[in-house]
Amino acid sequence: MRRLPVYLLLDTSGSMRGEPIESVKVGLETMIASLRQDPFALESVCISIITFDREVKQLMPLTELENMQLPAIQTPESGPTHLGEALEMLCRKVDSEVQLSTPEKKGDWMPLLFIMTDGKPSDSQKYNQMIPEVKKRHFGSIIACAAGAKADPKPLELLTDQVYSLDTTDGATFRQFFKWVSASVSIGNRSIGASDEILLPPPPPEVNKVI
């Protein structure tokens, strides 16, 4: 069976505490529920969740949608945003979890990466070091989301040309965002082939593409 690996990198730094992270949780739940209604996704999507604050944790290793249960997401009271370190862990996990085609093994679909942050990387040196490493992993698509007024889209633009900004970090906005993520995942599942670029569905109005 061909799997579609989906990596979610979520900011859990102090500023996400409270309503923002609760909204993210609700958004995630809605996303999982709606993906379960998509027969494609149900049979091929695998999700991994990596959170980053002062610490970087893979909350959930690459797990089939069918078998997954959302883990608890915690946020510390305050602290830095170690996005660079998160990318480092991401690369490590992709190397060990994503199956490439070999004569004896069937390869996975190109993985998808979604990053959500409400700030900017505190470990910018590491972050910049990791950018070429992430690019080497051949993600089918990298979509970054700068959420809230304090989010800085500039560093994200170094990583991907698909950077979107969300004005607020409330429930409605995140719900829209994750709905869109799940639509992108559904599409990513089937349109890889002649071109390497995945055609994304148009983003919802709450999500503004950064030009």
């Binding site: 027969p39 049979e43 069937k106 390869g107 996975d108 679909w109 190109m110 082939g193």
Partner: protein
């Protein structure tokens, strides 16, 4: 020590109990998790023994902490030891995350859940919410079992009591957890016909049977007539569930042709790229053009070509091999080249980039000679094509190599500029002479992915045996394709066979068989 004092002791400037309570309420989750984590770290050291209240000072503190986070005990210390232990047990149950495996609608479910072992000290466990979704708790095997009837995230309540405690009534305490039941993916697939007014409309399914009737031959002196059965061709193409779900057109195509005069067979199968906008037309143009050109080129070159084949059969030399290669290049190479040109022309008409018509291509031309079958082939992209003989001596020849990439779905297309280069076309030509065979099969990746899975398996004759058995009715749907001579029903049977179920494999499926 009051817990508020304890907070002060670790350096928090709490004012009063209310102030502390607000703090705790706000960070309840974090404290819970922290205590829980630490508790798990601590447990293995204690050899999993449930510590009793009078064990040590450490536990005393632990319980204070535990109670603190629920803010339940205001006059802790005055309670008796039993009450504290009960609280402690209850806390354990509350904090321990219950994870039960996910179920699937209409599929038998069985999960071992020995609550009394998981939560030492509890008894009289009952569950609420199982029956309504088709499940029950088997107290003997201690399993949640049954066949789920409803998909969704179901809330299940576990009621329990404590051993030797007043609260031993099963309804006195409860814990909620979620049991996820996935829908049956088969029930989620929709099948919506492709709109008839769609640009480059193509029917959602297609089939063909080319009957090649028995030939009457006269033996020596023409005294005795003998009927000689000749192989027929059958093909079927079915839109994948992935396309049917979104009312998108089938991207695959095929074309069969038998030339009565020269007795040459031509078979073509093409798979339009899923991501290319007009690939359904790309595959159609490729199939049609290849048959047209092969027909014309075979007519033009057949005398020389057939002599070359006979010569090669007599003497397998590099020189003779090269001659056949050159002729194949003139026939199939020209056909492939013309197909690209026709696609290019169509793309220019739109105008749109040619890659929007991306398609793979598998071609085979063959003819029966006195000494056996000549099979020539050309292959770009994924899928599979091979000559298969079931009977002894078993035989398998794969007529090329599938083009794959690092990741799934990556392949090469006829329309890529690097493919339509003389050396590249030449490299992709194959031919073989075999005395006889059971089947010559061409298929797109919609069939090879589920049936062969890997490139290595495509070269394993056991997998071909399995495929042939499968085609002959050895499958879960009991669909049998009857490969007896001149069976025109085989096209319908093959089309039905293509509906087989394979998890995660829902691409368009096309198969063409010479038998």
């Amino acid at each position: 020590m009051e817990w508020i004092d304890w907070l002060k002791e670790i350096g928090l400037p709490v004012e009063d109990a209310k102030h502390a309570q607000t703090f705790i309420n706000q960070y309840e989750d974090t404290i819970k998790t922290f205590v829980h984590e630490k508790w798990n770290e601590y447990l293995p050291n204690q050899e999993n023994e449930l510590p009793l209240i009078n064990d040590s000072e450490q536990i005393e503190n632990r319980i204070e902490l535990d109670e603190m986070k629920f803010g339940e005990s205001t006059n802790q210390g005055k309670e008796n030891a039993e009450k504290r232990e009960t609280d402690f047990l209850q806390l354990q149950v509350k904090n321990k995350h219950v994870t039960v495996s996910n179920g699937k609608v209409k599929q038998k479910y069985c999960f071992l859940f020995d609550a009394e072992a998981d939560f030492p000290g509890i008894e009289n466990v009952i569950f609420e919410g199982l029956e309504t979704i088709g499940l029950q708790y088997n107290t003997e095997t201690k399993t949640i079992e049954g066949t789920p009837t409803q998909a969704g995230d179901h809330k299940i309540i576990m009621r329990y009591g404590f051993k030797n405690r007043e609260e031993s009534r099963p309804t006195s305490l409860e814990k909620e957890f979620t049991l996820i039941v996935n829908p049956d993916p088969r029930s989620l697939w929709k099948n919506t016909p492709t709109p008839l007014d769609e640009e480059y409309y193509k029917p959602d399914e297609d089939k063909a049977f080319v009957k090649v009737e028995s030939k009457t031959t006269r033996k020596l002196l023409g005294l005795k007539q003998e009927k000689e059965a000749r192989k027929d061709m059958v093909a079927a193409s079915q839109r994948g569930r992935s396309h049917a779900h979104e009312s998108k057109a089938r991207d695959d195509d095929f074309k069969l042709y038998f030339d009565d005069a020269s007795e040459w067979y031509v078979m073509v199968v093409a798979d339009g790229a899923g991501s290319a906008k007009y690939s359904r037309e790309g595959s159609r143009i490729a199939c049609t053009t290849v048959v047209e050109v092969c027909k014309a080129k075979i007519f033009e070159l057949k005398d020389i070509f057939e002599t070359q084949i006979t010569e090669f059969h007599k003497t397998d030399s590099n020189e003779n091999r090269k001659k056949i290669g050159d002729s194949l290049y003139s026939i199939i190479g020209t056909a492939a080249f013309k197909a690209v040109k026709n696609i290019e022309q169509e793309a220019q008409k739109k105008p749109i980039l040619m890659k929007e018509f991306s398609t793979t291509l598998l071609v085979s031309i063959c003819k029966k000679f006195e000494f056996g079958w000549f099979v020539g082939a050309f292959w770009v992209g994924d899928g599979g094509m091979g000559i298969y003989r079931k009977e002894e001596p078993e035989y398998l020849k794969i007529l090329g190599e599938p083009d794959g990439g690092e990741f799934a779905g990556q392949t090469r297309f006829l329309t890529m500029p690097e493919i339509i280069q003389p050396t590249e076309i030449y490299r992709r030509l194959r031919f073989d002479i075999v005395s006889d065979f059971t089947a010559l099969i061409l298929m797109t990746d919609g069939v090879t992915d589920p049936k062969f899975e890997t490139d290595a398996n495509l070269n394993r004759i056991e997998k071909w045996h399995a495929l042939w058995d499968d085609l002959n009715g050895n499958n879960e749907d009991n669909v049998k394709v009857d490969f007896s001579d001149d069976n025109e029903q085989s096209a319908d049977q093959l089309l039905e066979w293509l509906n087989f179920w394979s998890k995660g494999n829902h691409d368009d499926r096309t198969i063409a068989i010479l038998f």
